[in-house]
Each structure stands twice: as C-alpha cells, then as structure tokens.
Symmetry: C2
Subunit: 355 residues, 2 copies
C-alpha cells in the first residue's frame, strides 16, 4: 500500500466564489467550494493527490466512464462548531467503503492515506465553506471514475479520484411519503447493490419518477425475487418501529452498509431501545399499520440524516403513520447530530477532528 | 416528436488522422475517426445534432454521469462493399433500443430522425474510415450521458448524445472458453438488464477478471436467484446446439434483446435448422456435454458477430466442446456477414444503404 511521502501539494484558486453564496438559504449539492482534491491512476499506480482549484474535467469521448459506468462514490459531511473547529463523522469508514465499492467495480483501490490526508488538506483550504447554521453542513463527495479510453468492454487503464464539496442545506424538506415497490428492483443477488456504484442510482430514477407522479417522494426497494422483504430507500437505509421495538433489515450484497444505519443501531441500543436487525416483510409492516402497532418509519443516511416517513403506499392502498409526540426519529436525530457537530460527548469515538 | 427541419450542420476537421492508421492491423475500438455527431439536451428539448471534429468533452466535476451512472449506449457497424457503397445492419432497431434503454434510465428519448439522419451525415463525412478488409468494419458507438450538474440523486436536466466511430478488427481472437457463473449476477428482475446501460457493464468486470484468472475469457451469466438458467454473456447472447436443435433463452427484463440474436433465429429457421427459444438450464447443458449431444455453443452480438465457444467451466469441472467440420456457427456467420457486407441477397430487408 502506497503511503504519502510528503505534504499534499496545494494549488490555490486566484479568486473565490464564496461571496456569491447565500449561506442562510442553501439548497442541496448545487454550489461548489473553491477547491477540490484531484488524484490520477496511471501506469498501474495512484499518483500523489493535489488540492487544486475547482475546475472542469476534460475527457476523450471514448473515456470508459461514458460507456461502461465504471464509477463509485461516497457521501460525507463536515461540520464546524462554535470554536471554528472542523469535524467529520467516521471518515475512515467512508474511505474503506469506497475501496469496497471500487473492488467490486474492478477499479483500483486507493491508498487510505491519499483519501484521509487529501480530504483534510482540502477541508483546511476550504474551511470558510463549512456552514455553521444548524441543519447545514459541507457535503463532501469523494468519487472515482474510469478516465481511460476505448470501446472494448473491459476495465479502464486510467482512473480519476476527486473530492468536491458543496455547502448544503437539508436533503428533504419535511416528512417523506414512500411507495413500497412491487415491480422494479434496485439490485440483484450477487450484483453490485452493496457498492456505492453510479449505476445503482441511475436504475432507480425511472421507478422513482413513476412513484413521484403518484404522489410519493421515495421508493422503498424490496428484494427482486419476491418483493416481500423491505430493503432500503434511494439513498437511505430504513428503520421501522413496531410498538417499542426498532427494526432494520440486515445488510447483504444487495444493500448498502450505511454508516448512519450502523450508528443509529448503536445509539438506540445505548439508549435502551430494543433493536432488532432482521428481515422484515412488507406483510408484517402492513399488518402492523392496520392493527396500530406501527409507530414510526424513518430513513437514515448521511445526506438526509434521519428522515421521518409520514406514510406509505402499497398495492394501491395508502397507510398513514401516527403523529407521535416523542419519536425515536427525533431523539436519535438529535443524538447523532449533537455528536457530529461537537455539541455533546462522543462515547463511541465517532467524531473526527480535522487538524 | 421533433423532426429535423433542415440539413445536418457539418463542421469539418482541419486535419485528418487517417494516415496514421494501419487498416491492415486494426484492434477493436482504439482508434477513432476524424468526426463525431454531437447533440445536446437542454431546457427540456434535444437541440439539432451536428457533425463536428472528434474532440474532448469538458464537464463540471458535479456532472451526473460521474456520480449516478446515467448513461446508455449502442453498438453498430458500417460496412463498405466493392463499389464503395456504405451499409448498416438494421440501424433503426439500434435507434429504438437506445430509446428503450434511455427510458428505463430516465434519460429523455431522442427523436429518431436525429439519430438516423445524424448517423448518415457522419458516415458520409467519415466514409474513408470504413475498412473494406474482410472481418473489419467501422464500429459505431452512439451514446447518451447525463451532462447536467448537481449532487442530488435525481435525473440530470441536461444530456449529451454523441456518435463516435472506430475502424475495428475482430473483438475476440480465436475461440472463447467461458465460465458459467454461480455466484455473481449481471441483473435483477425488475432491474435494468434489458437496457444497454453503462452500469450493467461495470458490474461484470470484476467477476470476469476472476474468470480470466482461472483461464476463461468470458462469463456466462445465470439468473440471480437460482443460477440455474443460462442467460447471456458480457456483450453477447448465447446459442446452444444440442443434437441438431439450436436453442437460445427468451429475452426478459434481465437480458438484452440482441439484434444479432433475433437475426440468427430468423436465419437459422430459414435454413431449416430446428430452433427453440426457451429457458435452458445449466443442468441440461452439462448433461448434454456428458452424453455427447452438446454439439456447439456460440455467442452472438454486433461486436463479436458469432463467436464459437470451445468449452465451458462449471462447478470446478471443465467441459470441452467437439471440433465439428460444418458448424451452425460458421454457416450462420457467413450468412449474416454476407448480408451485412452486400455479398448476397437480403430477403429480410435488413441491409440499409447509406445514401
Ligand atoms: C443506497 C444507499 N443506502 C443507504 C445510504 C446511507 O448510507 P450512509 O449512512 O453511509 O450515508 C446511502 C447513502 O449513502 C445510499 O446511497
Ligand atoms: C449484454 C449484451 N447482450 C447481447 C448483446 C448483443 O446485442 P446485439 O446483437 O444487438 O449487438 C450485447 C451487445 O450489443 C450486449 O451488450
């Protein structure tokens, strides 16, 4: 494994776009900070990463990213506390997951130090871009794509790793109504569903559009064989509260091993909430909705944090969730964001100070 | 549906690279012709396509192609006969399939005339690039990708459609040894396997690399649920001859509806070969290999034309196919290439003269 032999090279942008940004009214992932991390794989190895001005990418029309979908990504957030200290949340897990995704897509794995040191160098250069407002953060997008050329359907010989940053507000506005999918699927057994591979997302857009036309915001994916088991949502793992028990499906080669998900499981256990990680059927959720034992459903993911679900559609029927006073969703969301933003202790050692 | 109101605009390249190309020793998809077709989707509509010099593409790092795999493509070939007339093979089927793929990936469909008239204009400008040598052709790559920006996991608002061309020799050299896959899968029920979507190919690279390390060249995909049914290969549909019957699986939402496949079915029927389009199990193929009734296996696709399979591996065992004198593979390959290259009658009306 290569390790960095020297400091990350930094080429600063001559101008800044920061004054054009309204930090009070941020949308999600639409404005980008002044710099990015850039790193190339050539001649069988990853070259040293550099912090460079955010700039357009130029590729040959035959670059394999355009043809064969060889790309993986991550999603992280940086937070700033009252003292202007910068924090990440479990960043090494994103780095490791990027490499798990890369391996499945036949993309060469990145040395961890390139990712971690590169990311820290970038955040220090663009630290003014990290919003301090509650609910806002600097969304961080590490990604790798095939930049080598050729029409032969085989892995590329060159790759590009970039980290770009977007100061962002919340991903969803308000509660989310979801559709439990009965026809389309997100992933196959033995496929790439567990990887954060670009192609997994494109395949969800059309079924999601159909759901949006019917008045839902998101699809809840089920297994491709029986459509009986609840899997996950577009960019969130799913939690279901029946009576006082919090249930989430096990991860598999079809489901992304979410960092928010596994943190929520630990946080809930620490708070004394009964947690079950087990397969959960649509049938069970519908039955619970009908008999009143279904108390909450929420999605969990870096972009959306914890996103409460207001109701779901299944088989032509709509089911509303109750409006509770004290929800697991709101207490767990407060716990996790307090840890992320350095507003409370971090008994788990998840917070990572950038220095 | 938009139709073209005027001639396709042509911007010619000032120089040509054609003298650098050794047309006697062409590899596959590595050298590109002087021009390409370029067409942009903006503000809710496809703009008129133009023939322009082959040139690099410049994109923002947040362009959705890098993140969410929104891309589809086609593969076609142009042939030149002794009179320098240019021919395509069933091109409208590629155009229609591109739109079928686009729809599933939430990419706006292209007006057919943009594709057809654009392609013809490009081929006329680059007609010197069409090889005449037997077994060579101009490989044509139409593709559409998300060029709109943003980190929100939703369809892009801008797309780019390009057609690039590569004078090419054969895709495989010699016979192919394949591995019947028992663990990994290419596609899900309700997924995007029937679409020529970029992500379908990236997902195949790693399992194919593992197969190559074991001494095979290609993977034969099986269904993701039981791994009992033969589906297709990386970029080819699969035909199996047991005794004198030619068998191929039915298409489905997991399998690409290959133009070569459907042409081979018709050609074989016309030649009096008994053809069965039905599900075929690995078990049946292994049993036929053991009792000597398995005569041939071959892949069929535009890039590889008809590619005979020399043997297959399954469950740790290797099975060789017999070396026959007169194979279906060779007679059908001659039939289809003679039609494609205007060396014989075309009773089916598949050949398409570019004029
Ligand atoms: C498909 C999918 N599931 C779940 C998640 C949640 O994962 P994490 O909590 O690590 O962000 C994401 C987003 O990252 C995702 O894309
Ligand atoms: C997955 C897959 N199957 C089959 C084929 C064969 O299709 P066609 O004969 O239309 O080229 C291709 C290549 O186009 C392919 O990519």
């Amino acid at each position: 494994m290569n390790t960095l032999t020297s400091e990350i090279e930094i080429i600063k942008s001559k101008t800044s776009k920061i004054n054009e940004v309204d930090f009070e009214n941020l949308s999600f992932g639409k404005t980008f900070s002044d710099h990015m991390l850039e790193c190339h794989y050539k001649n069988g190895k990853w070259e040293a990463p550099k912090v460079v001005p955010y700039h357009p990418i130029t590729l040959d029309p035959s670059a394999k990213i355009f043809h064969y979908g060889q790309s993986v990504f991550e999603g992280m957030k940086a937070y700033k506390d009252a003292n202007d200290d910068i924090f990440l949340f479990r960043p090494l897990d994103n780095c490791k997951r990027l490499n798990i995704s890369s391996k499945r897509l036949a993309i060469p794995e990145l040395p961890e130090s390139y990712f971690m040191e590169g990311l820290k160098a970038l955040l220090k250069v663009d630290s003014d871009w990290i919003p301090k407002k509650d609910g806002s953060s600097l969304y961080i997008r590490p990604f790798v794509f095939a930049s080598g050329n050729g029409f032969h359907a085989s892995p590329a010989d060159e790759y590009t790793f970039l980290i770009a940053c977007a100061p962002s507000g919340s991903y969803f506005s308000g509660k989310v109504k979801v559709l439990i999918e009965e026809k389309y699927s997100r992933s196959a057994n033995g496929g790439v569903g567990f990887a954060k591979a670009g192609g997994n997302y494109a395949g969800q857009f059309y079924p999601t559009q159909l759901a949006i036309e019917k008045g839902y915001q998101q699809v809840i994916w089920t297994d491709d064989n029986t459509h009986e088991y609840i899997e996950e949502a577009g960019a969130m793992n799913i939690f279901i509260r029946i009576n006082d028990t919090l249930i989430t499906g096990p991860t598999s080669d079809r489901i992304l091993d979410g960092i928010t998900r596994k943190s929520i499981i630990e946080l809930a256990k620490a708070e004394g909430i009964p947690v079950e990680v087990r397969k959960i059927t649509v049938h069970e959720v519908v039955a619970a909705a009908k008999n009143g034992s279904l108390k909450e459903m929420f999605g969990a993911g870096t972009a959306a944090v914890i996103s409460p679900i207001s109701g779901f559609g299944y088989h032509g029927e709509d089911f509303d969730l109750p409006e509770l006073e004290n929800t697991y969703a709101s207490s767990l969301k407060k716990r996790i964001t307090d840890i992320q933003t350095n507003k409370c202790d971090d008994p788990f050692g998840w917070r990572y100070k950038v220095e």
